[in-house]
C-alpha cells in the first residue's frame, strides 16, 4: 500500500523562541529550523511499514515556503521514496492545510495518511482529525502502536487515563504520539542519495482551495515572567518557606 506522510518545517524544539517586541509574532529569522518531531515519528512508522512489507511506497508531503524543501530532503534522507511540496507563501491554518492535503490524497490515493499529533509551533493538534473528516475516513489519533492486519489496523492510542485500542478500517488517518517509535538518524550516504530523489513542487493556489485565514492574529505576547526564586539550604528550610512564606502547605 501507499503511505502518505505529512511533515512540517518548524522552529527546532531546542530553540528558546523570542516574541517580537511589536507583538506581531515570534521571531523566526536566523533561527534553527527542523522537521516537527511528531512528523519524524510518522515517517519512521511508514519506513517500518515498508520494512515489514506492509507499505510499498512512501510519499512525504508538506505545505510551506520553498525553504520547506529542506524538510522534505530530510524526509527523503530518512527513506521516503519521493516528496511533494505544496508551495504557499503564508502558512495556512490547519483547516487550509487539511483541505490541501485532501486534494493530494485524491490524486495519490494512499491507503494510510500519517501525520504528527501536533506541530510544536502552533500546538493546534487539528490537521489529522480535520483531514479525516474531509475524507470521511476513520481516524486513529495519538497512536503509540499500529498493527496492520489486512484491510484494517489495530491502533493503540495514548489517552489521559492510560491506553486504549481501537480497530480502524483502511483507508485511514493516523496521528502519531512520541511513544510510537524512535526515529532513525539518516546516514551520510542516504543524505547524498536523497539529493537525487524527486520533489514535485505545486502551487497551493492551483488546488483552488480558499486559504483565507479564519483566525485573525490580534497580538502575540510573551507569558508573564515568574518572579525570581530563592535557593534554600535544606528540607527543613523548604518546609518552613512553603508553610510560612508561600502559605501553600
Amino acid at each position: 500500500m501507499k503511505v502518505l506522510v505529512a511533515v512540517k518545517r518548524v522552529v527546532d524544539y531546542n530553540v528558546r523562541i523570542r516574541v517580537k517586541s511589536d507583538g506581531s509574532g515570534v521571531d523566526t529569522d536566523n533561527v534553527v529550523m527542523s522537521m516537527n518531531p511528531f512528523d519524524e515519528n510518522g515517517l519512521e512508522e511508514a519506513l517500518r511499514m515498508k520494512q515489514a512489507g506492509v507499505a510499498t511506497e512512501i510519499v512525504a508531503v508538506t505545505v510551506g515556503t520553498e525553504q520547506s524543501q529542506d524538510t522534505l530532503r530530510s524526509a527523503l534522507a530518512m527513506g521516503a521514496d519521493r516528496a511533494i511540496l505544496i508551495n504557499a507563501e503564508e502558512a495556512p491554518e490547519p483547516l487550509g492545510i487539511a483541505k490541501l492535503l485532501s486534494k493530494v490524497v485524491e490524486q495519490e490515493q494512499p491507503q494510510v495518511v500519517i501525520l504528527g499529533k501536533q506541530a510544536i509551533d502552533d500546538d493546534s493538534n487539528q490537521t489529522g482529525q480535520m483531514l479525516a473528516a474531509l475524507l470521511n475516513w476513520p481516524q486513529g489519533t495519538f497512536a503509540s502502536k499500529a498493527e496492520f492486519e489486512g484491510d484494517s489496523v489495530n491502533l493503540t492510542r495514548e489517552t489521559d487515563a492510560g491506553l486504549e485500542t481501537i480497530k480502524i478500517n483502511l483507508p485511514a488517518i493516523i496521528t502519531t504520539d512520541l511513544r510510537l517509535n524512535e526515529p532513525r538518524l539518516p546516514k551520510l550516504p542516504d543524505i547524498m542519495k536523497a539529493k537525487k530523489k524527486p520533489i514535485d513542487m505545486v502551487e497551493a493556489a492551483s488546488f483552488g482551495v480558499d486559504l483565507t485565514p479564519r483566525l485573525e492574529v490580534v497580538s502575540v505576547s510573551a507569558p508573564e515572567a515568574r518572579k525570581p526564586g530563592v535557593i534554600v539550604a535544606n528540607a527543613a528550610e523548604l518546609i518552613d518557606k512553603l508553610k510560612n512564606e508561600a502559605g501553600v502547605l
Binding site: I17, Q118, D123, A132, G229
Partner: protein, 310 residues
Amino acid sequence: MSILVIAEHDNSALNANTLNTLNAAAKIGGDITLLVAGSDAQSVVDEAAAIASVSKVLSANDAALADGLAENIAWLVNGIAANYTHVLAPASNFGKNFLPRVAAMQDVMQVSDIVDVVSADTFVRPIYAGNALVTVKSSDSVKLITVRSTAFDAVEATGGSAAVEELAFGEAFEGVSFVSRDVTVSERPDLATAPIVVSGGRGVGSKEDFAIIEKLAEKMNAAVGASRAAVDAGYAPNDFQVGQTGKVVAPDIYFAIGISGAIQHQAGMRESKVIVAINKDEEAPIFQIATYGIVADLFDVVPELTELLS
C-alpha cells in the same frame, strides 16, 4: 449567544474538566446547553442537570457513543452545531480527538486550548510550548473551541435543575470499533486536578528508585507526575507525563525532582503557584522558574523531606 458544551465522562461520572469548560462558556456569556453523549449514562445526565450554570441538558444515549469514538461524537455534534454560536469541549484527549473533526465538517477553524476569553469572538491561547501567547479573533459563524481546564476555575457542580432533552443518534460510523482499554490504576489523586504534584525525572535513575517520589507524594496526598525522560526510561507510565505533549497541570505546589526543566516540560507546569526544584545541577534550567530550589542530591533531600513531613 447560545453555547453548547460537550461533557467528558466515563458513562458513570462527569469528568471535572467539564466544570472548568463551563466556566469558560460562562465567560463568553449566554445560554449554556450541556451535551452528554454516552451509553446508559443516566447518572452523568443527573449530574449535568444539577449544575447551576447549565440551562439545558441534551442526552444522547446510544451504544455507539459509549467509548468516545471521535467519528460518532463528531457526527452527533455536527448535526446540532449550527444551532449555537459557540461549541466548547475540554482540551483533553477526548476534546482534542473529536472537535477538530466537527470543525472540518462545519468548515470552521477550531481555536485550540484557550487560556482566556477576551470577548465572544476573541480568545488567548499558548503557542510554542507556552513560550508565547497569541490572541486570536475568529470570523467563523460557529466558534469551535477547546478549553485548557487549568486556566479556568470550576463552576459550582450543584444548585441547578436544568431541563433534560433527548437527542437521537443516527447510525454509527462504519470502519471503527472500540477494542479495549488499559487504564493506569493509581491510588494517588488525579494529576490534572491535584493541589500538589510531585514529579520525578531522569535524575531518579530507575523504576525502583521512583518509589522515593511516590512516598513523598503519598505523605502529602499529592499526585505523581513525570518528565518525558522518566517515562521513556520506563520509570513511570505514559499518562504521568507532564509537558507540552503530556498533561498540563497548575497545582498549588509542583515538586520537580531530578528534572532539568526542558522547554517541553516547563510547558506543562509553569503556571503552578509554587514550583520547588530539587536538583544537584545548579545550572539546570528548572531553577530559572523555581520559587524554591535545593541544589543537592535528591536521594539525600527527598527522604529527609518525607521524614520531616510526618
